[in-house]
């Protein structure tokens, strides 16, 4: 075995050890720093080694993924039912209210609680905001400069991590309100003469 290949193999195994031991995603810059004493590794080499490692995990129960705050190893979703049996308590299901509020924050951030209420048509309870805050999925990023200085919310890197995505742009797009022209036509029809309303 030549030395380069041997070094490469060692680097991949060191990376694997770090990802196995870490309890949070590790960014490439941190990996480079952690490996420095043993490996002359720069970001490019680490990224190459991560690709090798990911390929090696193809047949494993775990997978190497990149999320917002770095790289991590995770047990594949195909095993979720099995893993759930390990834990006594299943993770609590998110209520529709929590999910809708989160979705609005995701796609409209930064925004105030009153903006969320305007879209949902109901008041947003402190509980809902606290739940999202508990998961560390949202944070206050500022205050709107109006009386009362309401807090403006946005999503956190942790939200991206937990939903397994690297950046907001990777999220499915917000479904469009069909084509705007159809909406406008509908609006125009509505403000036109009555009778189009097929009342029953």
């Amino acid at each position: 075995m030549n030395e380069i290949a041997w070094n490469e193999g060692r680097l991949v195994q060191s990376l694997e050890a770090l990802l196995q031991a870490a309890d949070a995603p590790l960014p490439v810059s941190r990996l480079v720093w952690l490996l420095a004493p043993d490996h002359a590794a720069d970001a490019a080499r680490v990224e190459d080694a991560l690709a090798v490692l990911a390929a090696r995990y193809v047949d494993s129960a775990a997978e190497v993924v990149e999320v917002a705050s770095g790289w991590r190893l995770q047990v594949r979703a195909t095993h979720s039912a099995l893993i759930a049996r390990l834990w006594e308590a299943r993770p609590p299901k998110l209520s529709r209210a929590v999910l809708e509020t989160l979705a609005i924050i995701v796609y409209r951030q930064p925004l105030a609680r009153s903006d969320i209420e305007a879209i949902r048509g109901v008041s947003v309870s402190t509980q809902i905001m606290k739940t999202l805050d508990d998961y560390e999925w949202i944070k206050v990023v500022g205050h709107r400069d109006v009386p009362g200085r309401p807090a403006l919310y946005a999503t956190t890197p942790r939200f991206l991590d937990d939903f397994g995505i690297a950046r907001l742009a990777d999220l499915p797009r917000l479904p469009e309100i069909k084509d705007p022209e159809a909406l406008e036509a509908a609006m125009a029809r509505l403000s036109g003469p009555e009778g189009t309303d097929g009342q029953g």
């Binding site: 196995q20 995770q74 047990v75 979720s80 993770p91 008041s123 937990d162 999220l171 509908a186 009342q199």
Partner: protein, 282 residues
């Protein structure tokens, strides 16, 4: 009409969701028959209506349901009919003295206004620019809400760490360094509890009872001891070295454990020794 697949999928789910509501038969009969012609003897349990209402996230959600149930497009809403149906629900709920959230009443007022304006003959000289049709604003809000309702479902379907994927918990080799531990600040801990108590008092009547910590501590200790043995005698759990107060506290702890169904108490006959067993351990 050509639509992106995503939208169509979401739409179908929107129709599917309230199907659960359909299975509670009573409220649907209300919707099927206009409220005005409701037979006098038709009894709808208020509870069923309450369950029905709880299935919705708010007035927009309820309106969307009424529209989707009839396979209509939001852009094609027969506003008059939907308004009537919505108002019928709200009136019925009020009749049944079901407390309605303010938002439902606000929407009812808005719909009532739309209805009355539509009943009025249009004056020819009315400037169409002068005020927008309130129906247009309603359609815009419904369309926007439906967007996010679909987006929420899509979010929920993404694989989530902790629910679908799991973090690795590989054991570590013996290490020279110990992991740094968080600073244990008793002030921060009590401050957090103060906040919880303040919030709990605001929200509900669910307040932590004034129970002494000593009793709770004894409860924990007894469960631990029972955990290692499965069962034990009452006398063995009571430490006489704690004095008379200790015995009383132990006794209170046992009563509390029994009340919370954490242990079972057994006695073969009167005056025989009491045996304590972990609940469900046999």
């Amino acid at each position: 009409m050509a639509r992106p697949g995503f939208w169509r999928r979401a739409e179908r789910r929107v129709v599917d969701a309230p199907a659960e509501v359909d299975s509670t038969d009573a409220p649907i009969r209300v919707a099927g028959a206009p409220y005005e012609t409701l037979p006098e003897d038709l009894y709808i349990p208020p509870d069923a209506l309450r369950v029905f209402l709880e299935a919705f996230e708010g007035p927009l959600d309820l309106l969307l349901y009424l529209i989707r149930r009839q396979n209509l497009d939001i852009l094609d809403i027969p506003v008059f009919r939907i308004t009537q149906q919505y108002l019928a629900y709200i009136e019925l709920m009020e009749e049944m003295a079901i407390e309605l959230a303010g938002e439902y009443l606000l929407m009812a007022a808005m719909l009532a206004e739309i209805k009355s304006r539509m009943l009025l003959p249009r004056t020819v000289e009315q400037d169409p620019e002068d005020e927008g049709d309130p129906r247009a604003e309603l359609v815009r809000r419904l369309a926007e809400y439906e967007q996010f309702k679909a987006a929420a479902q899509t979010l929920d379907e993404l694989p989530r760490q902790g629910r679908d994927t799991a973090s690795l918990a590989v054991a570590l080799p013996a290490l020279d360094v110990e992991r740094p531990r968080p600073v244990a600040d008793i002030g921060a801990l009590l401050g957090a509890l103060h906040d919880v108590l303040a919030r709990a008092e605001l929200n509900t009547e669910h307040v932590i009872e004034r129970e002494t910590l000593t009793v709770r501590e004894h409860m924990t200790r007894m469960l631990e001891r029972l955990g290692s043995r499965g069962e034990t005698r009452f006398s063995e759990l009571v430490t006489t070295s704690e004095g008379r107060l200790g015995v009383v506290v132990s006794f209170l702890a046992i009563l509390e454990l029994a009340r919370e169904a954490l242990i079972t108490l057994e006695q073969e006959r009167a005056y025989a020794p009491l045996t304590l067993r972990l609940a469900g351990s046999r």
